[in-house]
C-alpha cells in the first residue's frame, strides 16, 4: 500500500490560512482602512502596507492543529528577524488557530499581546525562540528579545470564511448570498494569492520597502474590492428586485413598456459583459473605476459619476452602452448605500 503524503491538502490548509490573514488585515482591524497593498511571501507570509509604504503590518500565519509553546516560539522567529532588520514594521502579528485556553490569562480574548500568556507557556515559547535565533542551545539572550515579545500581537482565527469576506466588501445585496458563493470567492482570492508565489525572489534585496512592488508579488485592496462587488453585481443581473433608485433619472418620462424594454436591454448587455471572455479587461477596468468614483464621491448623483467616468475611460465594447453603464453605476451605488 502507498499513501500519498504532503500533497495539496496540506498546502491548501496553509494557503487558506494565509488568505484569511490577508482578509483580516484588509477588513477586521480598526486600522484596516489604512491598509491598501498586501505583499505575499516577501517580508513574511503576508505583509500589509499603506499606499506609500510608510507603515507596514507584518503577519506570520501558522495553521497547525495543535500549537504547543515550542511551535509558537518557532513561529515567532520570522517576525523577530523582521524586528531586528533595517526596515521598521508598525505591527508584528502572529495569526493562529485558537490556542488551548489554559495557555491564556484572560481566555475570553481572541486578540491579545504576549502579556496574556501564562508564565509556564512563556518559558517554553522563549526557550524555543532563543534556540531558533541562536542556532544552538546556548542560553544567551538575543538583542531586543524582551522588547520584541512586548510588540507581538496574537490573533486567533475564530470566524467563518463568509465573515471575512463580508467585512471587506461593504456592499449589500438585496438577495441572500449563500455560504458556498462566499467560499468560492474566497477560493478565487486564495488562488490569486498562491499564484503570486510562482516567481523566484530568493536572495534578492531591496533598500526601501516600496521597492518590493517590482517583484509583482502584491495584491491591492481595490482589486479585492472590485472582485467582490463585481461578483455580487453579477449575481443581481436579471434578478435585482425592482429598479435601482439612482436609475430613475434615466427612465423619467418613459412609459411602462419602454421602461421594461430598457431594463431588459441593460440586463442583457450586462450579462454579455459577464460572459464575454474577450471583453473582460475593459469591463474589469470599468468596474474598478466605477467603484473608486462611488467610494470617493458617495454623495454624487449617478449622472455625475457617469460624466466623470467617460471623461477618464474610453469604452469601446459595443454592448456597454450609455444606458447599460448607467444601470451598472446605479446597481453599485445602491449596494454601497445599503451597506451601512
Amino acid at each position: 500500500m502507498y499513501t500519498f503524503k504532503n500533497t495539496e491538502i496540506n498546502n491548501k490548509k496553509a494557503s487558506d490560512f494565509e488568505t484569511k490573514s490577508m482578509l483580516y488585515l484588509l477588513g477586521m482591524r480598526s486600522d484596516s482602512a489604512e491598509i491598501e497593498i498586501i505583499t505575499v511571501d516577501c517580508f513574511n507570509d503576508v505583509t500589509g502596507s499603506n499606499l506609500d509604504f510608510s507603515k507596514l503590518w507584518d503577519v506570520q500565519s501558522k495553521n497547525h492543529s495543535s500549537l504547543p509553546p515550542s511551535k509558537i516560539g518557532e513561529s515567532l522567529s520570522t517576525l523577530y528577524d523582521n524586528y531586528i532588520s533595517s526596515i521598521s514594521f508598525s505591527e508584528y502579528i502572529l495569526f493562529i488557530p485558537k490556542l488551548t485556553r489554559d495557555y491564556l490569562i484572560d481566555s475570553d480574548l481572541n486578540v491579545y499581546g504576549y502579556s496574556n500568556i501564562n508564565l509556564k507557556q512563556k518559558k517554553g515559547i522563549e526557550k524555543k525562540l532563543k534556540e531558533k535565533i541562536n542556532g544552538n542551545n546556548l542560553g544567551s539572550v538575543p538583542p531586543l528579545f524582551v522588547d520584541f515579545l512586548s510588540k507581538v500581537t496574537f490573533v486567533e482565527d475564530n470566524k467563518k470564511i463568509s465573515t471575512y469576506i463580508k467585512k471587506i466588501s461593504k456592499f449589500k445585496n438585496k438577495r441572500a448570498i449563500t455560504e458556498e458563493i462566499y467560499e468560492r470567492i474566497f477560493n478565487e482570492i486564495r488562488n490569486a494569492q498562491a499564484s503570486l508565489k510562482n516567481t523566484y525572489i530568493e536572495n534578492e534585496s531591496i533598500v526601501k520597502p516600496s521597492e518590493v512592488l517590482k517583484f509583482e508579488r502584491h495584491i491591492t485592496k481595490s482589486e479585492i474590492n472590485t472582485l467582490l462587488i463585481n461578483r455580487l453585481i453579477g449575481i443581481d443581473v436579471f434578478s435585482f428586485p425592482g429598479i435601482p433608485i439612482a436609475f430613475f433619472s434615466v427612465i423619467e418620462g418613459k412609459d411602462e413598456e419602454e421602461i421594461k424594454d430598457l431594463l431588459q436591454e441593460c440586463n442583457e448587455n450586462l450579462s454579455r459583459a459577464f460572459f464575454d471572455k474577450n471583453g473582460c479587461r475593459e469591463f474589469w477596468k470599468l468596474s474598478e473605476k466605477i467603484i473608486e468614483l462611488l467610494k470617493d464621491n458617495p454623495k454624487n448623483k449617478m449622472t455625475e459619476i457617469y460624466e466623470v467616468l467617460i471623461s477618464k475611460i474610453k469604452i469601446r465594447t459595443p454592448y456597454l452602452t450609455e444606458h447599460t453603464v448607467k444601470y451598472m453605476i446605479s446597481l453599485v451605488k445602491t449596494g454601497l448605500e445599503n451597506a451601512d
Partner: protein
C-alpha cells in the same frame, strides 16, 4: 408581515394612520361613518385587493399608500387605479396591473401559492390569497368567497392545501390517452379555423356593403360603443406582443451567452517542457476573471426564471384578451346583421374574432393539454389522505375555538364553507368567520396579520367579544379590528382600559369625511418618496 402605516388621499386632502402596533389593534368610534371601513378597504386595495369601496367614494382619483414590514425589510405600496408602485430600500418597481404585482411579491416578498386552473398551475390572485386573513365588512357569505374574482371556493381550498404543502397532483395516467386524442382532434379544428379566416379576408364584396349602410345612425352609435372595447383590446394585444418579443430576445440571449463564454477548442497550447495545458498569460493588471461560475449560473438561472414568468404573463394577457373578445361578441350579436358585416370589415374584427376567439383558444387548449400530458403524474393516494387529515384537523380546531367562545352554541362545522342553504342568525356568521380565521392561521402558521372589519357584526355579546379578544391577543401576531361602540360602551372607555389592546379612536372624525386638508402635507411627503412618479 406587519402593517406599519396606512394612508390615502390626493393632493388636496388625505388621511394617515400610523398608530398601529404589532399586537391587537382595535379601531373604534361611537358612531358609523367615521371612516374605519374606508381605512381597511384602502389598506387592502393598496396591497392589491380588488376595489370594494362604496360607490359614493371616488377611489379612482385617489392614491392609496401602505407600509408593511416582512422579515425585517420594509415595503411601501402606492396604488392608483390598477397601477401599483412598490418601493424597498434603494429600489422601486412599477406594475401596470395587480396581476403583474403578484409575480414580484411571490419572488421577493412573500410566497403566493399556485393552484391548478384551466389545467395549468397558476399563481392565485391577491384577492383570493388575502381572504386567508382579511374579512371585509360587506358581501359576507359563509357559504362562499367574499371576493368574487376568477377563482372560486374550490380554488381557495386548493390554495389552503398548497400552503400546507399538500399540492394537487395533475392528471391521472388513465386520462393520458384521452388527452392525446383530444389534442389531435383540436389540432384538426385549428387548421380548419385558420383556413376560414383567409377566405373571409378575401371577400370581394367588402367595399359595396360598407358604403351602403355605414351612414345609418344606429351603426354609428354601435361603432362608438364598440371602439372602446376595441381600443382596450389592441392595447392588451400590444402588451402581449411586447412580452412575446422580450421572451424571444431572452431565449436568443441564452445561446449568445453560451457562445461568448466558450473556450476555443480547435487545438490547444501545451508547455513544451512539462506538457501542461495550464499556460498562464501573465500580466500585472488583471488578477481575476471577469466572472465566476456562480455569477454565470446565477445569470442563466435568472434568465430562465424571467422566461417562465413571461410565459405566465403572456397567458394572463391572453386570458384578458379572450375576455374582451367575449364582450365584443356580445355587442356584435345584438347588432343588426348588416352592421356585423361593416364592423367585420372596417375594424378587421372578423379576423380578430376568429383568430383570437377560435384559433387562439384552440391553441391555448392544445397547449394546456400538452402541458397536462407532460406533467401528468400518478394520483398520490397518500396525498389524498394527508389532505383529509389536514381538513379534519382544521375543522376540529374550528370547533374547539367555537366552544371556547360559545360553550352552549349549536354550530357544527363540516367544511370551511357552509352549505348554501344554511342560515345564520345574529352573530353566528361572525363567529364562524372568527373560528375559520384563527384555525387557518394556526394550521398554516402564515405570516399575515389578521384583519377584520366590523368584527362585532350581528350584535356580538360582550362575553363572546371578551373571549375573542383574549384569543386574538394570545396569537402573538398583528391583529387589526374595527368596531362601532354603543354610547354606554364608548363612555366607559371599553377598549382603552385594556392593556393588551392598542385602542385607536376615530370618533372625532367628522361625519363621512375622513380625508382632511391638514394631512395633505404629510401625505405629499409620503408620496414624494416615490421619486415624483405620478401613476
Amino acid at each position: 408581515m406587519q402593517i406599519k402605516k396606512i394612508a390615502f388621499g390626493d393632493s388636496q386632502e388625505a388621511f394617515i394612520e400610523s398608530r398601529l402596533t404589532g399586537g391587537v389593534n382595535v379601531i373604534y368610534s361611537d358612531d358609523n361613518n367615521r371612516g374605519k371601513t374606508l381605512v381597511m378597504q384602502g389598506l387592502m386595495f393598496s396591497l392589491g385587493y380588488e376595489s370594494i369601496f362604496p360607490s359614493s367614494f371616488h377611489y379612482k382619483d385617489k392614491y392609496f399608500y401602505s407600509e408593511i414590514e416582512v422579515n425585517g425589510e420594509s415595503y411601501e405600496f402606492l396604488r392608483k387605479k390598477n397601477t401599483v408602485a412598490l418601493k424597498t430600500d434603494g429600489a422601486m418597481q412599477i406594475f401596470n396591473s395587480v396581476g403583474e404585482l403578484r409575480y414580484f411579491l411571490d419572488k421577493f416578498v412573500f410566497r403566493i401559492p399556485k393552484v391548478q386552473k384551466d389545467n395549468r398551475a397558476t399563481l392565485v390572485d391577491l384577492s383570493l390569497l388575502y381572504e386567508l386573513f382579511f374579512i371585509g365588512q360587506d358581501s359576507r357569505n359563509p357559504s362562499g368567497l367574499i371576493s368574487k374574482g376568477q377563482f372560486n371556493k374550490q380554488d381557495f381550498k386548493n390554495m389552503v392545501h398548497a400552503l400546507a404543502g399538500l399540492s394537487t397532483s395533475t392528471a391521472n395516467l388513465s386520462d393520458i390517452q384521452a388527452t392525446k386524442n383530444k389534442i389531435a382532434e383540436l389540432k384538426i379544428k385549428l387548421k380548419e379555423t385558420k383556413k376560414k379566416i383567409s377566405i373571409i379576408k378575401q371577400n370581394p364584396n367588402v367595399a359595396e356593403v360598407f358604403s351602403k349602410t355605414f351612414d345609418s345612425n344606429k351603426v354609428q352609435e354601435k361603432i362608438k360603443s364598440i371602439s372602446g372595447i376595441n381600443e382596450k383590446l389592441s392595447k392588451v394585444r400590444r402588451s402581449r406582443q411586447r412580452e412575446i418579443n422580450r421572451k424571444s430576445k431572452l431565449e436568443q440571449l441564452v445561446s449568445e451567452l453560451k457562445s461568448l463564454n466558450r473556450d476555443l477548442s480547435e487545438g490547444n497550447v501545451q508547455c513544451g517542457d512539462c506538457g501542461s495545458d495550464k499556460i498562464v498569460y501573465s500580466n500585472t493588471d488583471l488578477t481575476f476573471e471577469v466572472s465566476n461560475i456562480d455569477v454565470r449560473n446565477g445569470i442563466l438561472n435568472s434568465i430562465y426564471e424571467n422566461i417562465t414568468q413571461k410565459v405566465e404573463l403572456i397567458n394572463d394577457l391572453t386570458r384578458e384578451i379572450n375576455f374582451l373578445q367575449d364582450q365584443l361578441n356580445d355587442e356584435m350579436e345584438e347588432a343588426p346583421p348588416s352592421f356585423q358585416q361593416i364592423i367585420l370589415y372596417s375594424e378587421q374584427v372578423v379576423s380578430e374574432k376568429n383568430y383570437d376567439n377560435d384559433s387562439f383558444s384552440l391553441s391555448r387548449e392544445i397547449e394546456s393539454l400538452q402541458d397536462q400530458l407532460a406533467s401528468s403524474i400518478e394520483i398520490d393516494d397518500a396525498l389524498k389522505t394527508d389532505k383529509k387529515t389536514f381538513d379534519l384537523n382544521l375543522l376540529n380546531d374550528m370547533s374547539s375555538i367555537y366552544k371556547s367562545i360559545d360553550p352552549n352554541g349549536n354550530l357544527t362545522f363540516e367544511d370551511i364553507f357552509t352549505k348554501r342553504d344554511s342560515t345564520f342568525s345574529g352573530s353566528e356568521g361572525q363567529e364562524f368567520y372568527f373560528c375559520k380565521l384563527i384555525a387557518l392561521s394556526r394550521a398554516l402558521n402564515h405570516d399575515f396579520p389578521l384583519i377584520v372589519d366590523s368584527f362585532r357584526d350581528g350584535e356580538l355579546s360582550t362575553n363572546k367579544e371578551e373571549s375573542m379578544l383574549n384569543i386574538y391577543s394570545k396569537l402573538s401576531r398583528q391583529v387589526i379590528l374595527t368596531s362601532t361602540l354603543k354610547d354606554e360602551e364608548y363612555n366607559s372607555d371599553k377598549y382603552k382600559n385594556k392593556n393588551e389592546i392598542n385602542a385607536i379612536d376615530y370618533s372625532l372624525h367628522s361625519d363621512c369625511k375622513i380625508l382632511d386638508k391638514q394631512n395633505r402635507e404629510g401625505f405629499i411627503d409620503l408620496i414624494s418618496n416615490f421619486n415624483g412618479i405620478v401613476l
